[in-house]
Symmetry: C2
Subunit: 397 residues, 2 copies
């Protein structure tokens, strides 16, 4: 290890920038073989045989009646909102990425932001109830459960609350592929769940996603809204989308699905290496994925106690960036404080759990681009930062 941190003028831990989370991409030889089949069949898109096979595999894996593959998670969430006929406002956590709030905006829905529990880093029935009470029930059509960072936001509890309050309940499980709640895989909770197979996800289609549901009627509407063959049974839908997944996307996803368990284990090994490497460093520790009996471990979250560690999450991220370590703030600011929802002229909702998590939580590098050896070096850099905190603080002041 370099005698000095890069931020203080030393050489960086890694010569090249390490991305925060590189997706696992199937090996080239296997993809070329899969692609050969696409060319032989000359069937390139519009619910081809690979897309159909992927839907069957996903339904089986997620233990749901229907998995409807789509272009990407954003389009999937738009389609789900449309298929459910949602209008008005929808509760979702301010700690979530912007993508679901954006997608719901295209579907004409306005977000009402709820908090997350600061310890679990997930929404709960209590935080949703608080948001409903704050909004005074005004035109709230639905609650979107967002299962964040390999954990889950209590889908059974949220479903019960939604039923009691007369709301539709659906979930964004973009982070949650392969996670299970008390042994039941994410995918079958509420009216529908939306998964993402984007480039940084544990299962990738390059770009892609799927909507899952156990509701035959809703599935028929979703397939018709998607505008593709494979609609199964034509039903009347008010508006459609281009939500088709091409055969090339489906081929990547099928291979990625084959690799899922190996990739999950790789993530788990990295997590264990982080646990070992961070042990004994004052003021930092990992957050356990909450609310799940199985996690995909695709997100390794460290929480800092700024007083004990000597600096907060943002300062540590800066130190690590200089070392070419792509650790990122778990939550940039919270959607309640972000444009366009947190406009300068209206006060942001009081969401203390979200604000605390934003100040203290860091997502550490994991996924395909990270080795166990690299984790050890990342942890050494973190330890070094902690020991050198006064000098780093002095430099910043």
């Amino acid at each position: 290890m370099s005698p000095q941190l890069a931020i203080l003028g030393g050489r960086p831990t890694f010569a090249q920038p390490m991305p925060g989370r590189a997706g696992f991409f199937p090996a080239r030889e296997r993809f070329v073989a899969a692609f050969a089949g696409i060319f032989e069949r000359q069937y390139y898109t519009n619910q081809g045989p690979l897309a159909a096979a992927l839907e069957r595999r996903l339904a089986e894996r997620l233990e749901v009646r229907h998995a409807i593959c789509v272009t990407n998670g954003t389009v999937g969430l738009m389609m789900a909102a449309e298929a459910l006929g949602l209008k008005g406002r929808i509760v979702l956590p301010a700690a979530a990425p912007a993508a679901p709030a954006v997608a719901l905006g295209w579907a004409g829905l306005e977000p009402v932001f709820c908090d997350i529990d600061a310890a679990r880093l997930q929404m709960t029935a209590d935080t949703v109830a608080e948001a409903l009470d704050r909004a005074d029930g005004d035109a709230i059509a639905a609650a979107l459960g967002v299962n964040l960072w390999g954990g889950a936001g209590d889908p059974p509890g949220l479903a019960a609350l939604a039923e009691a309050r007369g709301l539709a309940f659906l979930s964004d499980s973009a982070h949650g592929f392969g996670c299970a709640v008390a042994g039941t895989p994410l995918g079958g909770f509420g009216r529908a769940e939306v998964f993402s197979f984007g480039p940084g996800k544990i299962v990738t289609a390059t770009e892609g996603g799927c909507v899952t549901t156990n509701d035959d009627e809703l599935a028929a509407r979703l397939r018709n809204i998607r505008s593709s063959y494979g609609a199964g049974r034509p039903v009347s839908v008010v508006r459609t989308a281009n939500g088709r997944m091409s055969e090339a996307q489906a081929a990547v996803a099928l291979l990625s699905l084959d690799d899922f368990e190996a990739n999950r284990r790789h993530n788990l090994a990295l997590r264990c290496a982080y646990e070992e490497g961070l042990r004994g460093i004052p003021g930092i520790g990992l957050v356990e994925p909450a609310g799940v009996s199985t996690s995909n471990h695709h997100y390794v979250i460290a929480r800092l106690d700024a007083a004990a560690f000597g600096m907060g999450a943002a300062a540590l991220a800066e130190v690590l960036a200089a070392e070419n370590i792509g650790a990122r703030l778990l939550i940039a600011a919270g959607l309640h404080r972000s444009f366009p929802w947190g406009a300068a002229d209206r006060p942001a909702a009081r969401l203390p759990g979200t604000d605390a998590a934003a100040a203290s939580s860091l997502c550490l590098p994991t996924g395909a681009a990270v080795s166990i050896e690299a984790v050890a070096r990342i942890c050494e850099a973190i330890a070094h930062a902690q020991r050198t905190a006064p000098a780093i603080r002095a430099r910043r002041e």
Copy 2:
């Protein structure tokens, strides 16, 4: 040729169904080579080098300052409406496919349908002015020029009308790649144009599209709305989308672009074969692509005079379907008569040009799946249908 038409019990002209318009897909060997590069770089999506190269090639080919590649044309049109800040109602032709009206619906815009000129099969400044007068200017924000079937709807005239009436003018050129108006390629008219690289288009990315504009400010907004690297200059946008084009899509589009001129010539040769084959058959003739100095000839449209031919377009399509010839009605009904716009409880706008075109026009098979020899056999089947029209009519009655 079979002694009897299939609809009257004979053997079909073709043993297998021939699609109406199969896209041109680049040869497998070339695609495998292009894909090898993607794996070597391990850069699969998010404005990678192939997407960037494609944007440069497209801008050069279409003679515009900016070509912004997107997931598909639907997302591209949503993004364009958002980037232009359009709200309220938008004029577009009822003869268009549903896709643009659907896309604009996701962007919160309500369609006002204009007619097409029955002879040209294109919208004109007059048909748009008629729609504006009918709607009494009520909250109309924009006119969408839809350049249909390898022709164009007078972009300079529409732009002048829009300016006079204080409307934004943008175009859907999903059918128009490679077409030119008085020597100027489609792509640079109005505020923005949207192209589709879907599976049936003359340039394909499997799924895909692009938005073109000469407006630097609008381009910056579009790139930021798309949510990707390559945003160039960050600008504040109210909502984003996932409009990313993957490297696999871009690779297909680059190869398809290489093939464009060869594919256009193939289409032109098919068109000439149709012209020869239909000559002398009473009551049927091809419609010249209107409003363009160059067409991609990816759409071959036949117009029927039902009295002279002995049957209308729908009846002929049925006869040809039995022959395994995928000729389709040019316009299913017109969007003004289609759910959800033409609801049962409100009268459809009077659009005589659209209604006449719907009753009389047929799109004949073209593209990669059709050979010149096949065109000759298709024309023989059409001649046979004309000769046998009384017997076919008797069967239908």
